[in-house]
């Protein structure tokens, strides 16, 4: 059981040449879509036109996009309270997400879920589980279903560094291991669980090392390099489909926004923030695309503009979307 650590600054310009240009531009579009979605939602939230609370993923877009791009449409993901990016990457529409955040009955959870529980089973995403690590046993169970039915589906299970301390992580991961279940455990290690830095809650903060003690393979990947994430996930998915059991991917990344709502992140040291700012996943991938000659500044700008228009349109529509009625309070409890 080996654990390999990829350098967080490995360039992926050469890797790019192995892919179809349209596919690469679509990856880029998804990164931008997530970023702009999150930035606009943050604004809506701060101006008070969006209810509830939000947990956002600015700076972490490459984990969601890289993982989901490696999955088949009938593969599944589980997510957390921080699920907007995962949802967009897995193919939920901006509209169904925006409607959900506005509490509309046209939202992906008909307004009953909200920001922490976005998902759409038809698109392969379980509603976000907002109990830290709560989605890990769930993912193992989903993959147990796949195994029992003999299907080739896999589950990619997203969780944070904070989740590693939970009993649910330990129990879920161990069962996936002993039954060789097709789960890719995707730990988005953004160095913090809420305000708590990883090194305060584990003696060895190299999370991929954990896999060995359960008897399977772990790998640390530059989580701000979308192609590195994509490749690692593809390898993991292949191993899963071959029946070798789970893989733990530790994706190193950084949260460039608050933990939730109006958090000013005073616990993140300035130099750390700045260092990670230079590793922004979108800027880095833009650089890759430019270096590979796949897109110039104008082409990228057109993507940004199209995304902007899509989101603006979605917001307009979401504001006018129908809200549930009181009668909906008691529906959807039982099948």
């Amino acid at each position: 059981m080996t654990t390999s650590h990829t350098s967080p600054n490995a360039s992926s310009a050469t890797a790019a040449s192995a892919h179809d240009p349209a596919f690469l531009l679509e990856l880029y579009r998804r990164l931008v879509l997530i970023r702009q979605f999150e930035d606009r939602v943050k604004f809506l939230f701060l101006e008070g036109s969006m209810p509830g609370t939000i947990h956002q993923c600015q700076g972490q877009e490459a984990t969601a996009v890289g993982v989901c791009a490696a999955l088949a449409p009938d593969d599944f993901i589980t997510s957390t309270f921080r699920g907007h990016g995962h949802a967009i990457a897995k193919g939920l529409s901006v509209q169904e997400l925006m409607d959900e955040l506005f509490g509309a009955s046209t939202g992906c959870c008909r307004g009953k879920g909200g920001s922490m529980h976005v998902g759409n089973l038809a698109k392969g995403m379980v509603p976000g589980i907002a109990i830290v690590a709560g989605g890990i046993p769930l993912a193992a169970g989903m993959s147990l279903a796949f195994k029992l039915r003999g299907s080739r589906q896999v589950t990619a299970c997203f969780f944070g560094d904070g989740a590693v301390a939970e009993g649910a992580f330990h129990e879920g991961v161990n069962m996936a291991a002993i039954w060789s279940l097709p789960v890719i455990f995707v730990c988005e290690n953004n160095l913090y669980g809420a305000s708590t830095r990883v090194d305060l809650v584990m003696r060895n903060p190299r999370i991929s090392d954990r896999a060995a003690s359960y008897g399977f393979r772990g790998e640390t990947v530059d989580g701000n390099d979308v192609l590195a994430v994509l490749e690692a996930t593809r390898r993991a998915a292949e191993e899963c489909r071959a029946g070798h059991g789970p893989v733990l991917l530790e994706l190193l990344t950084y949260r460039r926004t608050g933990h939730s709502r109006r958090d000013p992140c005073n616990y993140q040291p300035k130099d750390e923030r700045e260092a990670w700012a230079t590793r922004d996943p979108i800027e880095r991938f833009a650089e890759v695309l430019r270096e590979a000659g796949l897109a110039d500044a104008a082409a990228l700008a057109r993507i940004h503009a199209a995304v902007d228009a899509e989101i603006t349109q979605a917001i307009e529509q979401a504001r006018r979307a129908p809200q549930p009625t009181i009668a909906d309070l008691t529906t959807d409890v039982f099948a």
Partner: protein, 337 residues
């Protein structure tokens, strides 16, 4: 037709459902180890021979495997998951309450969790941590159905109905009623055997049942207490007090139709519960009866329950903890005085 105990009847019910539907599988500790006991109370004994791939032994990891069951159900499987003692449900309660019971609602009705949970409860000489009555923790959980089985006939029929239901269903069973045999036989066991018909049948998940008709007072109980209530009614009958005994059976939702029909006639109710009186299921039933049938009540509803203490080990105290026939009889007499 054959006479069976609850453990055997559940075993047959599980086997028949697994036979009928390939999506059904079992998950739990020590449920299918060759040379083992078939779970803590022999319910799944030998099933691994018939279904080698669908009897899944888990590590001791209740939170995890209840989550695994939930995930499998979400993908369309129909897991039957059990704990060895109901007390361990507390370890799994996050997955049961925060995930299994809520996922349908929070997804706006798009998720479905067809999952059966089984938990043995009751004070049986094992001390505080293998003895609790756990029903109270689960009846107030929207999205979850809760039933309690006190006869073999019901056990099989309810298990089958639960497997075919589209929701998470928690089935409580009582250690003294299983009729487990051999090394797993239980001292102090009470006969809960039934004549079991040969064909397929189900028992609804939302129906109480009148075990004994009577006009003077309604006694409500479930699990072991349904048996004790029936015994108390026999004693009372020799005193010309005709008690109607209802096995509440479906603890969530509660069948107020059956209960109400009785209460309207008798106007007097005694609810018998194993478990501390405060915060028990009987509180909900008492409040629910008052709300619905208050004008028919000739006296306040009486609760006969355990003292507000953890379960003690020594038999003399455990017997005092567990409501018995004598306490039920005394409560009825007092109520009718």
């Amino acid at each position: 037709m054959k006479r069976q105990g609850i453990a055997e009847a559940l075993r047959d019910g599980i086997a028949e459902e697994m036979q009928r539907d390939p999506a059904v599988f079992c998950l739990g500790e020590d449920i299918a180890i060759p040379g083992g006991w078939g779970g803590a109370f022999t319910v799944t004994l030998g099933l691994e021979k018939q279904f080698p791939d669908r009897m899944i032994n888990t590590p001791i990891a209740e939170l995890g495997f209840f989550g695994v069951a939930t995930g499998a159900a979400l993908m369309g499987m129909r897991p039957i998951v059990d704990v060895q003692y109901g007390d361990f449900l507390l370890l799994a309660s996050d997955q049961i309450i925060n995930n299994a019971a809520k996922l349908r609602y929070m997804s706006g009705g798009t998720c479905q969790i067809p999952m059966v949970m089984r938990a043995p409860i009751g004070a049986t000489g094992r001390g505080s941590q293998h003895a609790q009555s756990l029903e109270r923790y689960f009846i107030g959980v929207p999205g979850l159905k809760v039933v309690a089985v006190s006869t073999a006939y019901d056990a099989k029929g309810i298990l089958k109905a639960a497997v075919r239901d589209g929701n998470p269903v928690m089935i409580f069973e009582h250690k003294l009623l299983y009729g487990s045999k051999g090394a797993r036989a239980e001292p102090g066991a009470v006969d809960a055997t039934s004549e079991i018909p040969d064909g397929d049948y189900t028992v609804p998940l939302d129906r109480a049942v009148v075990r004994r008709p009577g006009r003077d007072v309604t006694i409500l109980g479930w699990l072991l207490m349904a048996h004790f209530a029936a015994a108390a009614a026999n004693t009372l009958a020799s005193d010309s007090i005709e008690a109607e005994v209802i096995d509440v059976r479906s603890l969530s939702p509660i069948d107020y139709e059956t209960i109400g029909e009785s209460v309207r006639r008798t106007g007097r109710v005694v609810i018998v519960e194993e478990g501390p009186k405060t915060g028990g299921v009987a509180a909900e039933i008492a409040a629910g009866i008052m709300e619905r049938f208050g004008e028919h009540l000739l006296a306040p509803v009486v609760r006969v329950a355990s003292a507000d203490v953890p379960v003690p080990f020594t038999p003399v105290l455990e017997n005092a903890y567990r409501p018995d026939q004598a306490r039920i009889v005394a409560a009825v007499r007092e109520l009718l005085r």
